[in-house]
């Protein structure tokens, strides 16, 4: 994959348009017409060449436009023309400047205060299931089928695999699972190193 390219004293945004994309993503997100999991998935379906070559915020712009249209906030025709459809009644933006500090302190809100029993416990040996869903998942390929140890239970969170496709939140426990580097990468990996991966109940089975 090559060396990590490091830019000293890098600005937060490399161009003004990047900052506007970022801000529009947050402000339009306040309508709650989509969720973060769905937004992440818009990048995942980009063709590989675009995924690797196109700049980060240009990808965000693509995904934002896609969700705005798909979830009914704007129409494709309006994107094309740049103008609201004739007769459109102006809406009231849900995010105003005064609300911003409070809105930012609870940005993602994926935790759920629901009584769901955990399937696993700290110290337990578990195997990451070899699932390869067509849609969104947060189970990295490098961990599938690998055995690790539950380090801790973080509590109950929204499940991204269903949430990204608006199929329901399916709240369940999330655990830090510790995988030995040698388990993941083979005998040449350093003996003491490990990778901690956060995993949902549905990603795991007892080992």
């Amino acid at each position: 994959m090559g060396p990590v390219q490091y830019e000293k004293n890098e600005p937060v945004f490399h161009a003004a348009w990047e900052s506007r994309v970022f801000a529009m993503f947050l402000a339009a997100g306040a309508w709650h017409k989509w969720n973060l999991d769905a937004f992440r998935h818009t990048r995942e379906v980009l063709p590989p060449a675009d995924y690797l070559e196109v700049s980060y915020y240009a990808q965000w712009f693509s995904g934002l436009q896609d969700l705005l249209v798909r979830r009914g906030l704007v129409t494709a025709a309006e994107i094309q023309s740049g103008k609201p459809a004739p007769g459109t009644v102006r809406a009231t933006p849900p995010l105003t400047p005064e609300e911003i500090p409070a809105a930012l302190s609870n940005r993602i809100r994926a935790q759920r205060n629901v009584p769901v029993a955990p399937l696993f416990r700290a110290g337990q040996r578990v195997r990451a299931r070899n699932i390869n869903p067509v849609g969104h998942t947060r189970l990295p390929r490098y961990a599938r089928g690998k055995v690790g140890t539950v380090d801790r239970d973080h509590g109950v969170f929204v499940f991204p695999d269903t949430n990204a496709h608006f199929l329901g939140e399916k709240p369940q426990h999330v655990y830090s699972v510790c995988f030995a580097a040698r388990e993941l990468w083979g005998a040449q990996a350093p003996e003491r190193d490990c990778v901690y991966v956060d995993m949902w109940d549905d990603y795991l089975e007892p080992a």
Binding site: M1, P3, V4, Q5, E10, V12, F13, A16, W17, S19, R20, V21, F22, A23, A27, A38, R40, D50, V54, Y56, F61, S62, G63, L64, L68, R70, L73, A76, G82, K83, P84, R90, A91, P93, L95, T96, P97, I100, S105, R107, I108, A110, I131, V134, G135, H136, P140, H154, D161, T162, H165, L167, V174, A181, P190, R192, D193, C194, V195, Y196
Partner: protein, 216 residues
Amino acid sequence: MTPSFKEGDHPHEHDHEHQAVPSDPALRVKALESLLVEKGIVDRAALDALVDTYENKIGPRNGARVVARAWIDPAYKARLLADANDAMADFGFLSRQGDRMMVVENTPNVHNVIVCTLCSCYPWPVLGLPPVWYKSAPYRSRAVIDPRGVLREFGLQLAEDMEVRVWDSTAELRYLVLPERPEGTERMSEDELAGLVTRDSMVGVSKVPPPAKVQS
């Protein structure tokens, strides 16, 4: 359980027009902003405030203050490691019930590195927005398989008998490294210590350098 996709969106329903990524993003971004403002989807002053917040108000100085307090105050450090949200709420960066933060401590035996292999998850409230290198394919892919090689590129050589822990931010936990306090800082105030803490040390790709010797 894999979803059945009988209801809701089919995952490939939309693999289509939006894939043409813009060659002149500035103009198209401006056009979208005008459209969204005109439709009342977004408020322009809110957009300006969001940009200002992340360009000027939220950044690694937040995390540096947390680290400095943990270095100076053992009771605070214990709280931070046990419940980072609660400890960080002292500074007002995030709500006690907000997104879940975890602080992982570097010691002489353990070195922690944070990555998001799947996208770019990063602890915004304490570090601001992630740098391009953190979001890049080389970092995302190599940090999990060869963290020591990545650290060497950042100028950090770790002893073989150390344990390297890589934290892949796959869920909504956000991780911050509590770097080791450098030598020669025993008499520094909390503010002075905060001034030493680098963003890179809180991601785990470097250590906090000792203070420069003062020329007299």
